[in-house]
């Protein structure tokens, strides 16, 4: 490990893949994006920051939850069909069990258990966790200026203007891909050089 910025990656075993995703699902309050990055990039080191961000980006343009799509793709990368099934079932197993218990509670008492202030505090922490994760990824990936503009456009469009996500993806993804290809010298003026 001579390069501190790029620590050695580990290839997960079948069990490791399942257990890693089990943890992501179990701890993922308020959405799993932050936990997925924490476990996959920081804790288990299955993928680099960039690799993970790219898989997540692909997951974003496909229908369905981006982290769920990423689970299928990461699982397939390491262990084929078995990997995709293990990662996916790991991701959804614990939340489904907890959800069924909540449903039984709800059916019985007709409302949520009275832990609202605690839940509000956890929700605030979770919101901060998601914001912090986005900042961390953006910082570590050293995005170019035009990529930062795209990032902020996506944020403002979704958070302030409440434009529907499919519309944002359909408009911004091609623009952003074109900018990225151009910077790589594969499109337009860059290619002519």
């Amino acid at each position: 490990m001579s390069d501190a910025a790029a620590p050695a990656l580990t290839r997960p075993s079948h069990a490791g893949l399942f257990l890693g995703y089990l943890k992501i699902g179990l701890l993922g309050f308020g959405g799993v994006a932050a936990w997925a990055r924490h476990v996959i990039v920081q804790e288990q080191r299955w993928l680099t920051e960039r690799d993970y961000a790219e898989v997540l980006g692909l997951g974003q343009i496909l229908p369905g939850p981006n982290v769920g799509n990423a689970a299928v793709m990461i699982g397939r990368r390491f262990h084929g069909l078995a990997g995709a099934l293990l990662a996916t079932s790991g991701l959804y197993f614990a939340p489904l069990i907890i959800l069924i218990i909540l449903c039984l509670f709800y059916d019985r008492y007709g409302q949520l258990p009275a832990v609202a202030p605690v839940m509000a505090g956890i929700a605030a922490g979770a919101a901060g966790m998601v914001i912090g994760t986005a900042l961390k990824m953006a910082g570590k990936l050293k995005l170019h200026a035009e990529a930062l503009v795209v990032l902020l456009l996506a944020t403002v469009a979704a958070a302030w203007f409440r434009i529907s996500l499919p519309l944002i993806v359909v408009v911004l993804a091609p623009v952003s891909i074109a900018l990225s290809l151009r910077r790589a010298g594969l499109l337009g003026k860059g290619a002519a050089r």
């Binding site: 974003q60 369905g64 939850p65 769920g68 799509n69 990368r77 901060g128 990529a147 944020t155 952003s176």
Partner: protein, 178 residues
């Protein structure tokens, strides 16, 4: 039986239009379940959404709760499978495609182009969540926003497990927001 099949079919269609995940598909889910099929009323739909938010895991599992309410256990199974399987099959195909194209010089830059969109939408989700905590009955004033800010900086600038932040948030919530 037909009801369960209808649930499976409805959620399969929702699965395929859910670009951006659960929050993107929520309006269409409401249209299908409340307005078209009349399986749920407005108030129940909102309550079930809140219930799903209280559980950990992907928000898309809101579909499972709706299925449960409509047709019990079989409804939950049908809604969950309907919501997950079509999207997962597409993701599987996409993974295969990118593996096959691995040598193509344009693949990495093209994929890299999706990265800022993905991160921007994560940031937006966090901001939306922060707005939601601010608006709820148990969190008036600046306290929740302060918690959000502290948690953001903690996760951004340190490599500690975010679990500390969630636990800390719960304790602070009990002490300050009750």
């Amino acid at each position: 039986m037909t009801l369960v099949l209808q649930i499976l079919l409805t959620f399969s269609i929702l699965s395929l239009v859910a670009i951006g995940g659960a929050n993107a598909v929520l309006p269409e889910m409401h249209r299908q379940l409340v307005e078209l099929h009349g399986w749920l009323d407005d108030a129940t739909f909102s309550q079930l959404y809140a219930l799903a938010q209280a559980a950990p895991g992907p928000n898309i599992l809101v579909a499972s709760v709706m299925g449960w309410r409509i047709a019990g256990g079989p409804g939950l199974a049908a809604a969950t499978l309907g919501m997950l399987v079509p999207a997962a099959v597409l993701a599987w195909g996409m993974a295969g495609l990118t593996q096959r194209l691995r040598g193509a010089p344009w693949l990495k830059p093209a994929q890299g182009g999706l990265v800022p969109v993905a991160i921007g939408l994560i940031l937006a989700a966090g901001i939306t969540m922060a707005q939601a905590t601010h608006g709820s009955a148990h969190s008036q004033g600046v306290m929740p926003l302060l918690l959000v800010a502290v948690a953001s900086v903690f996760v951004w600038r340190t490599d500690y497990s975010p679990l500390w932040m969630l636990a800390g948030g719960g304790v602070m919530g009990a002490l300050l927001l009750g």
